[in-house]
Subunit: 447 residues, 2 copies
């Protein structure tokens, strides 16, 4: 078996563990994910491998620190994954990884186990070839990224000395396409909450009472529809406080990123795009905040007809934030909006579940420039430096607490269905990712 | 054991069968319901008991026709029941009937097995006492009322001679309260459909795409919210065609029905009522059409957060119709409204599941007057003649096809949670119902 084949088999093993952090039923599987990773790190030659407890799922730590004159890198990633449902929409089972057309299909393949293992295998390969690493490496892989890293923030604060470093290397963002690498220089913040609208003590018969009593589904719809105006703008007073102006310079920078509307529509199965008026799709995703409905539930969910008036209706809502938007402030503004909007007879409760500020990275520093050059040895096109629509809340914490430069060096593709059925990872990027990371570390050796 | 105790035990047996007509998984149980009823009818002394096949669930038929000079009654009811979910909200299991405080708790207790058995036991009691019945009785109990009687319409048309009668006696409507009987003289029509909004081929990541792509939940909300205006009126052009004006006379008639807003709010757990401006609650329920959301489903339904952009969102919607509103026409108007309202990027499909016209009954005829008097022998208060908000689609068919007078002689109460958890039936009304029906038949003997 070639070294590459062994690495892929290890990734398949790692992906077979359903380490779903949001669902308490999978708690033992999440721990199994941590244990698998710790064992693989020991095999790679990393030292001081530990499974460190938190109030939630554990953090896997390891280090190798024998180059006193070289920089210290902290590799951050996550071994937890999103839920797999709706499971029936997967071509192969989400936790039985399957290779088709050079892609490895499994939940977590691109987000983030495949990218975490790029780092572990780059280290293993360097150790096997040279018996040492060209730089100092610490590794901190958490199990709660998909639930917004509640335990990692106190963990980083508590272990500032242990985690001290010059740069934080993170592979959890997409490239532009299979031949165009990207280092993300902006990430949106996030706010997620659940809203519950309650009316009656029980579901009511729509014949006996319909017309004279409040309907929780109806009232939820009224509140949800009030969140946007006709131009696609979020219609909550104060929501846009702290959002930076989209300057001509920013527009030019965004316009450099290739964007093919027809190809995207085809790939996603859309008949048209839809967004805030006055912005291009890349500006909407990279520079503008959003408020989205992630789930709605109310009333009868079974087959056929049941003419009830639902007593309760819930929506899962999340915002992506930009610039200086403060998630707590946005949440309060939304609460005020809901209180002013909810019709008579409805009691509305909001439960905040995630909050994180947006991040902007300085693209000019050495750590990012060398990463861009490392990519270019293995990919056809030049490295780009886009602003991404997603959120990695912990990036801001690393910068604030450790004073380290974030290097968001991704190997995924947006087409790889992360958070959706048939998530996959291109094995060509797994292999080139390992080479890129090795070249990146070696570029510091030459200084 | 007293005769009454035996009757109650029989009802408990009948209610133990989960004859849920809307769910194909319960098909065998629905048939078991028909078989139980046929057997009980044979024991009661009815003749020509048959389980008659249809394209759906079977009809149970029986007759006793040995009073050539007396009227022929057709007793209609249904042995099918609503689904029991959410099962976790029941105090006792829905198909393990339990008596608490003189009430029998089970799915179908008041709607309609308890009321069907009033008729079977009235017949059994008369046969046991007199060896014969004072009038001619046919009985036709279907298994598809909760799914809008799709097979019964062709069944009635095909068996017009067999079902020929002077009056159709139906016990499937509520009384005013425990001491105030009611014969319903108006029923609203019904239209039910499912609406599906589809956008992308898969659920999408709200970070990677949020802001630039359509969200099926968002688009569904926009369409649903467009169905009503700020005054609670249905905002679909043409919806109110055929709705009768609410005259001063009608308002006076409705005002005669006792209505206690505070008591109703307390009973249903509401902080306020909610309905179309300009009408009292009883007018809203009895005289005005509605459009209600019975269920909404979209996106992530599990615990915690999943930041997806849903690709599909569905709503179960039903209308109550009044006067001459034509359900097919209303459905077409709704379809036109949806097509005009759905935002770009959404494909919307509508699936019609139920349609029935409203019914108005002439309260002056002998069959209704005698029924009113029969009640008054066993209840403290005078019989009232209200208009009800519910729908019994088959009533219109009986009148059109058989030329028979409908007599909507109910023994249920609106507080009995029909279609909701903890459905129950007051045993005092089961007992007095049997006496009332016996007295009603006997009142024709005296002519």
């Amino acid at each position: 078996m070639s070294k590459e084949e062994t690495y892929i088999n290890d990734l398949i093993d790692f992906l077979s563990i359903p380490s779903i952090s949001t669902d308490a039923a999978y708690e033992a599987e999440v721990r199994k994910g941590a244990e698998w990773l710790a064992s693989d790190l020991r095999n790679s030659g990393m030292e001081n491998v530990e499974i460190m407890e938190t109030d939630g799922h554990p953090v896997v730590y390891a280090d190798w620190l024998h180059q006193p004159d070289k920089p210290v890198f902290l590799v951050y990633g996550h071994y937890d994954v999103q839920p797999a449902d709706p499971v029936e929409l997967w071509t192969s089972a989400p936790f039985h990884p399957e290779i088709r057309d050079g892609k490895l299909f499994a939940r977590g393949a691109t987000d983030d186990k495949g990218q975490v293992l790029i780092h572990v295998k780059a280290i293993a390969s360097l150790m096997e070839e040279d018996g040492e690493l060209p730089v100092n490496i610490k590794l901190c892989v958490e199990g709660e990224e998909e639930i917004a890293s509640p335990s990692l923030v106190p963990f980083v604060k508590e272990h500032k000395d242990k985690l001290a470093c010059d740069a934080v290397l993170i592979s959890d963002t997409p490239m532009i396409d299979e031949e165009t690498p990207a280092i993300v220089t902006g990430l949106r913040g996030a706010l997620a909450f659940e809203m519950e609208v309650a009316t009656a003590a029980t579901d009511l018969h729509s014949g006996a009472y319909g017309g004279a009593v409040p309907n929780a589904a109806h009232h939820l719809v009224k509140v949800l529809d009030s969140f946007h105006d006709e131009s696609g703008r979020v219609n909550v007073e104060g929501f846009y406080e702290g959002v930076p102006e989209v300057t001509d310079e920013l527009r030019e920078e965004m316009a450099r990123i290739p964007f093919h509307e027809e190809a995207l529509k085809g790939e996603l199965g859309l008949t048209s795009l839809y967004g805030e008026e006055g912005y291009t799709p890349l500006e909407q995703i990279g520079l503008r905040p959003t408020l989205e409905f992630n789930g709605i539930t109310s009333g009868y969910q079974g087959a056929g007809v049941k003419t009830v008036i639902p007593k309760v209706a819930t929506a899962k809502v999340s915002c992506r934030l930009t610039g200086e938007q403060d998630p707590s402030h946005v949440f309060e503004k939304i609460r005020e909006h809901v209180e002013a909007t909810a019709p008579a007879g409805a009691s509305v409760t909001l439960d905040k579940q995630i909050e994180a500020k947006a991040v902007t990275v300085d693209a000019g520093n050495e750590y990012i420039q060398k990463a861009g050059k490392a990519y270019e040895q293995f990919y056809k096109n030049r490295t780009l430096y886009p602003k991404e629509g997603g959120s990695i809340p912990i990036v801001e914490v690393f910068r604030n607490e450790l004073g380290a430069e974030p290097v968001l060096m991704g190997f995924g593709l947006q087409s790889e269905n992360m958070h959706a059925p048939d998530e996959h990872f291109h094995l060509s990027n797994f292999k080139r990712g390992i080479q890129t990371v090795k070249a990146y570390y070696k570029s510091f050796q030459e200084d």
